[in-house]
């Protein structure tokens, strides 16, 4: 019979230990894990990026439910262990579950330390520790404006950056005169402060919080000097407290953490501790690198494989805030026994300090340029003797002028040099994994070696190592991130195969190209459908069931399951008769919300699915495609007809453009704007393609975006007539359709292609002509989808009907 292994805590250190154990001994134990959070294992480090808006919570799950299932691990989430019976070797959970164990791992991590000041229990005070905290901050940021972060350390600053991104005003309150005083010296700390102030943070240094103000919810802070500030949200980031209560209450020896020896054993037989809850040689660690080392030792111990003892770790620290490149490790202060090398280039904002003790590097502070951090950190941890080196060679190993390209840097790296600090993976290990397993992507390297799977800082270096190891092969495979999990083929490869093998439908593509999930997923199916339509422009039959909901239904789904109806309104121009019709339909179907959209149209929101076809019929207007990866709207100003500044017919051009290109499938949505003079009332400078009337012609702008990633458009060309404008637009759209990846908008696309390149292509008359020919053929293919639904009972029944069965 297998032995029973129970683990309390489903966090980063614990689960890593299990991963290591499974590698050493896949069938050694029946494993059960309790986690009191409702999620499977996720990357806690990445919460900062979630708060900063770069990742979603879904993105940071590291081991999903399938992983637990696949490894036959019983996982109880949302369930805490509340008791341990050492004699009977049992644990009991808060849901009354009683479980025997042969071996027990305590991996309960830690919690945010909440300052015990009056008012700290009020609504609006949060820590920064888990998904729940993160969600709360995101929610509050929608309602409130002012946030205060208490704590100017790593966590506090990352939280503050996130809150700024969420649109809040942020005060950072810190007890000490310097930020991150444990990691940075005064100079580096001052540089960091300046950068963060430029980014919009406000600092209140040397302030001790005395009280949190407010009734039920916080309204502000009072400091010990009597001063006060306003705040509707308070994030406590003053430190963490190991979760040791459970161990303590059940007679396991606890100091600051659960005390363990070099093999992660507590003072009770068969009970181990690992991670932030453990105290090893009087140190409790708060970063993953040492915890993962602990996990490795514990896994070997559990598998009964001889292992080196865990002897402690020196940690390096980085801050995950863009614009602040910093690295720190070891001793940062000076004393009698130390000498330090300092470089301070104020002009470029670079500062480096290397603290040297007994001819060895004892501490590192780098600000503004951290590319030497790995090398220096390795010299520090390996206690390399540097007596033979000059200060210049210590700081600038890569070449005399700090030069040496990326690949050169990789070449100069020793095999045992650390690449991923979090996971302790060296260059040699990565190179070997690439060679033996024929890896081609950063994610694959992570899958084999764990490198890059924690804070993610080292990913660019991993990518350089891939490039260096694979040489020419990499260039093609670098862009190779498969289009989804069902295949390893890239977009370019899929399109090339469609052309080469003459594949004509979605099923066939997946079949012939060996998709792992037979019928594909929600990522690849819409993409393949698009590529097929692009390649076979001459009469491809669109596959409606491979489209995502909005395009499948030809209406936008809202969060309550209702849909919206937005009729076309060419160039934002309408008539009294149409307005009446829209009003009548809104009344007849009890439409709960009538709203003018951002694209100059009228939207009817909150429509039941089974009312859609009848409403479309009553309206008798074409679909506005407010839901599609296609031409959405052409916004126009009133122009020469009414405006005293206008020199051109902006409405006329807008309507012509919209009529010509409506319904065209594009890799992502496309918006246009036409203004009749440089005052630009139609905001043509932030559209995928925009036109600005000037004396005697039109300026054409491309690649703008007014959405999440704001981007001003670039001037492409100036033309004299509307016809020329239409011709360039056609060629531009078709070139984008043929070269962009599905879901790539024109802004990143034109950055990737380069403005000069796009200009060159579109300047070529022959090219323009061919592109337009293919586009015109494509345009012939489309039908008005609302009309189609009205006329075709099959469509009505398949997509819009809701049955109701009553049985008494």
């Amino acid at each position: 019979m297998k032995k029973k292994l129970v683990m309390i805590g489903n966090g980063m250190a614990g689960v890593r230990t299990i991963e290591e154990l499974l590698k050493l001994q896949p069938d050694g134990y029946d494993i059960t894990i309790f986690g009191n959070e409702p999620h499977p294992n996720y990357n806690r480090i990445m919460l900062s990026t979630v708060l900063q808006g770069d990742k979603s919570i879904e993105d940071i799950i590291m081991n999903d439910w399938d992983w637990y299932k696949g490894n036959s691990i019983q996982l109880y989430t949302g369930e805490a262990v509340v008791g341990i019976d050492k004699q009977k070797k049992q644990v009991i959970s808060d849901q009354g579950r009683l479980l025997d164990y042969d071996e027990l791992i305590i991996a309960t991590g830690s919690s945010s330390f909440i300052l015990p000041v009056p008012g700290s229990d009020k609504k609006g005070v949060v820590g920064f520790r888990d998904i729940h905290d993160c969600e709360m901050m995101i929610k509050d940021s929608k309602k409130y404006k002012k946030a205060a972060v208490i704590g100017g350390g790593l966590l506090g600053l990352e939280a503050a950056r996130g809150l700024l991104n969420l649109g809040m005003e942020v005060d950072v309150v810190h007890l000490m005169p310097h930020l991150m005083e444990r990691q940075l010296d005064e100079t580096a700390s001052g540089m960091l402060r300046k950068e963060l102030e430029n980014q919009g943070m406000n600092f209140l240094l040397e302030k001790q919080t005395a009280e949190i103000l407010g009734e039920e919810r916080v309204t502000g802070l009072r400091f010990s000097d009597g001063s006060e500030i306003q705040a509707d949200l308070i994030v406590m980031a003053v430190g963490i407290r190991p979760n040791v209560q459970l161990a303590k209450d059940n007679g396991i020896y606890v100091n600051r953490g659960v005390v363990v020896n070099d093999y992660m054993e507590t003072d009770v037989p068969n009970i181990y501790a690992v991670g932030e809850c453990a105290e090893h040689r009087e140190i409790v660690y708060g970063l993953v690198a040492p915890l993962y080392e602990q996990g490795k030792v514990l896994a070997a111990n559990l598998a009964g494989i001889p292992t080196n003892p865990y002897e402690g770790t020196i940690c390096g620290t980085q801050l995950k805030v863009s614009g602040c490149d910093l690295f720190s490790a070891g001793e940062i202060g000076d004393d009698e026994g130390t000498k330090s090398i300092k470089v301070h280039n104020e002009f470029d904002g670079i500062y480096k300090k290397i603290v040297i003790r007994d001819n060895m590097i004892a501490g590192i502070v780098l600000y503004g340029d951290t590319k030497d951090s790995n090398r220096l950190f390795r010299m520090l941890t390996k206690r390399e003797d540097i007596s033979g080196m000059t200060s210049v060679s210590i700081l600038e190993a890569s070449g005399c002028c700090g030069g040496g390209g990326e690949a050169g840097d990789v070449k100069a790296m020793a095999d045992d040099e650390l690449v991923c600090g979090c996971n302790g993976v060296t260059k040699g290990t990565i190179v070997e994994a690439i060679r033996t397993n024929e890896l081609t992507t950063v994610d694959e390297v992570g899958g084999c070696t764990n490198a890059g799977r924690s804070c993610g800082r080292c990913k660019s270096l991993i990518s350089d190592i891939l490039a260096f190891t694979l040489g020419d092969q990499y260039d093609t495979s670098a862009k190779k991130a498969g289009i989804c999990g069902c295949t390893t083929l890239s977009k370019d490869e899929v399109v090339a195969e469609i052309r080469a093998k003459g594949l004509t439908n979605v099923r066939e593509v997946m079949n012939v190209l060996g998709w792992s999930q037979e019928e594909g997923c929600s990522k690849c199916r819409p993409a393949i459908n698009y590529y097929l339509g692009m390649v076979h422009y001459d009469g491809y039959k669109d596959e409606r069931d491979s489209r995502l909901v909005n395009e499948k239904m030809h209406a936008n789904i809202q969060k309550d399951g209702t849909y919206s109806v937005v009729p076309r309104m060419y160039g934002g121009v309408t008539t009294a008769a149409d307005l009446k019709k829209i009003a009548e339909v809104a009344e007849k179907y009890n439409v709960p919300l009538v709203k003018l959209t951002g694209g100059q149209r009228i939207g009817l929101f909150g429509v039941n699915k089974d009312d859609l076809p009848a409403m479309w019929e009553d309206l008798g207007m074409p679909s506005g495609y407010a839901y599609g990866k296609t031409l959405r709207t052409v916004k126009t100003c009133v122009g020469e007809k009414f405006c005293r500044f206008g020199t051109q017919d902006s409405m006329g051009l807008g309507i012509q453009l919209e009529k010509k290109f409506e319904r065209l499938d594009t890799p992502h949505k496309v918006k246009m704007g036409v203004s009749a003079c440089p005052r630009n009332c139609a905001e043509s400078g932030i559209k995928d393609i925009g036109f600005v009337g000037v004396d005697g012609g039109w300026e054409i702008y491309i690649g703008g975006n007014g959405g999440t990633d704001l981007r001003a458009a670039d001037l492409l060309d100036t033309v004299k007539t509307k016809e020329e404008a239409l011709e360039i637009t056609g060629a531009y759209l078709q070139y984008y359709r043929e070269t962009a990846a599905y879901l790539e908008r024109t802004a990143p696309w034109s950055e990737r292609m380069g403005l000069e390149h796009v200009k060159e292509v579109l300047a070529d008359e022959n090219m323009r002509k061919q592109l337009n020919e293919r586009l015109d053929k494509t345009l012939e293919r489309y039908n008005e989808p609302w009309q189609e639904a009205i006329q075709d009972n099959g469509i009505k029944e398949k997509y819009y009907q809701i049955r109701s069965v009553t049985v008494e």
Partner: protein, 106 residues
């Protein structure tokens, strides 16, 4: 309130489309039927297991899986469990096809 389980005829097998869900309300319960590529019919509660809810009827269907139309959760039609990227579960119903008629037990 129904105490014992009953078998109810909810649709004609041939009229059920492949590739998209069909919503039915049965005595006020919202259910959605999926006829998948191999011809089997599956029935689940018509409510996304995402905490914000939402319909499942217009989901993208891939073999035994559907992708929730509002939040893109991948859900197994066999046991109603969410595979990725979150957790959760949707209620499933027992389906039988007898002589061209689709019955579910509720």
């Amino acid at each position: 309130m129904q105490m014992t389980k009953v078998r109810i005829n909810v649709a004609d097998y041939h009229s059920l489309p492949v590739g998209t869900g069909q919503a039915v309300t049965v005595n006020g319960e919202n259910i959605v039927l999926f006829k998948i590529t191999n011809g089997d019919v599956k029935a689940v509660e018509n409510r996304s297991p995402h905490r914000k809810g939402g319909t499942l009827a217009d989901a993208l269907v891939s073999g035994n899986f559907i992708y929730c139309p509002v939040y893109d959760l991948k859900i197994s039609l066999d046991d109603g469990k969410v595979q990725a990227p979150d957790t959760g579960e949707v209620k499933t119903y027992h389906v039988e096809v007898i002589e061209n008629e689709v019955y579910i037990t509720i």
